[in-house]
């Protein structure tokens, strides 16, 4: 175990890059999935199109997407933006359905009484529907976070550095230690993402932890 102490700085910087490449798309994807999920609920005709359409995006192999994006967007092949955009697409693919289902989990009586009390549509979405959809959306977000951390490592193949670089490095030199360090770092990073999402969810849903009626 001499490799890690010598390469600690390198591993840390790869971890930071990995966090960025997996985390930023998670936030962007969520922000885009929210209105799409809302549309899928609001207009019943759009539901199958949006759900199936975005679901299909997830089936595009990541390597193919990394290679195709520069051609489609005119970005440089080594530009990390390609990875960010690709990961955002995967996040959207996972989250549109989650958001739609989360909004669907809001009891009808609650929506009706919000409307009856004089909420306009936009405000109702932000202050009633969205907060109540948080538990469902959060569950989907946790899946997307783990998926992102894992898929990002493929970006090494198009030359974008992150923890995945340790796998190719170790593989090329038939040397196990960087590979093990890379895997452990990825798992730890996924756990950190999960913990952050769980913590944020707890903060956003104090009502979920309140006990039931005594009677």
């Amino acid at each position: 175990m001499t490799w890690l102490p010598d390469h600690l700085g390198e591993v840390l910087s790869l971890t930071v890059r990995h966090t960025y490449l997996a985390g930023v798309p998670l936030i962007l994807g969520l922000l885009i999935a929210l209105p799409l999920g809302w549309l899928a609920r609001r207009y019943r005709g759009l539901y199958p199109i949006l759900i199936i359409g975005t679901g299909l995006l997830y089936t595009i192999p990541s390597l193919a997407l990394f290679i195709m994006l520069p051609l489609l967007l005119g970005t440089k092949i080594l530009d990390p933006a390609n990875v960010v955009i690709a990961m955002t697409i995967y996040t959207i693919a996972l989250l549109v359905r989650t958001v739609a289902d989360g909004l669907g989990s809001v009891p009808d009586a609650v929506n009706q009484s919000a409307t009856a009390m004089g909420y306009r549509r936009g405000r109702r979405f932000l202050s009633v529907e969205l907060p109540l959809a948080v538990p469902v959306i959060s569950a989907g977000l946790r899946v997307a976070a783990v998926s992102n951390v894992s898929i990002v490592s493929v970006a090494t193949l198009i030359g974008v550095q992150q923890l995945g670089s340790l796998f190719t490095d170790g593989f090329n030199r038939a040397f196990m230690e960087p590979i093990i360090v890379g895997v452990v770092a990825c798992v730890l990073l996924a756990l950190v993402f999960d913990g952050v999402i769980l913590g944020a969810t707890r903060l956003a849903t104090p009502w979920q932890r309140a006990g039931k009626a005594p009677s």
Partner: protein, 420 residues
Amino acid sequence: MIRFEAVSKHFPDGTKAVDGLTFRAPTGQITVLVGPSGCGKTTSLRMINRMIQPTSGRILIDGRDTSTMDETELRRGIGYVIQHAGLFPHRTIVANIATVPILLGWNKRKARARAFELLERVGLPASFAKRYPAQLSGGEQQRVGVARALAADPPVMLMDEPFSAVDPVVREQLQDEFLRLQGDLGKTIVFVTHDIDEAIKLGDQVAVLRTGGHLAQLADPAYLLAHPVDDFVADFVGKDRGYRALSFQASPHFALAQERTVPLGATPAQAAGAARGGWILVVDEGRRPLGWIEPDRLTGPIQPEMLARGGTVATVGGPLRNVLDAALSSPSRRGVVVDDQGVVLGTLRAHEVLAEIEDRARPELQDEAVPPAGGDRPDEESQQGEESQQGQSGRPNGGARRVDSAGSADSAQPSEESPA
């Protein structure tokens, strides 16, 4: 005042939920829409705050056509209460109650202060303020629902089966408190229920709807019980309508028989000395009735568990129904009448009540084709001022208080499962 003018609602699938409905809900009064499940009650109610748009016809509030008003503004001025309350699960009780004030742009402090005031008003402790709805029982949630609807002091309230989902005992409490509250507030209320007993208890006027959204009859409760307009209404108001109509007749100043009483702990000899017709009334230290006892069967001093508690107790000046029930339910056949503090005044026998009932006139049959309480008056638009007096109905005050839990005089029959 709310006016329906030939309002119809036909859903796209062809369902005629409401058909040519015309009636008015007078200012400061409770108008109950009652009818079997699916007869268009909810649809009618929701057309008032435009949650549902009428297919044809007009709805006016104080002379203004609601279709010309901004939807959201309209709704913020109308309190709305539904079955299961529909509270926001993610908001504390104060935040729930403060919803409309906040939407109206009140500052936070004022909205909160108002919420606390209402919490008290609906009979909930201030300690509930920070709880979430899931931490309250169904009946408590329903009270919060009423408080929330009242928060911005709207002149109009719409209530859709608000008490249907709670058990009969709690329902009766909520109904009584609702009437008390309305006595103070005098809101213009449209109240929907499928339970005719509830309709008759709460309504200043009752509109009976039949399937397809037709108005079968609109009248005040006493008139409805005395003169159902057709078989449908007669069946719907129920078989014991003669008895129930007595709820609307205040009892006169009956000459009560003096009743000797004994306290708990009295010996068999003391009880036997005071007994009349084999029974003696046992009271507490404040001379409030506890129950009847037969001294002949006593083997020792009177203990609470020896009492026959079947008899109901009527308050003086209350409805004839309660006095009659007190007499009918009493083991001694003597009905106990108490004053407002619950202190025994004396007793009365069923035949005395019946003699009084036979002397009473039933509500006159109105010969107009339109029902008395809510018929169309073409000139009413110019007379709205006249409608704005507080809606105190002729309901006699005071209900029968019970000596036991089994023999309530008021109708607390569990109603069938409410429709969704």
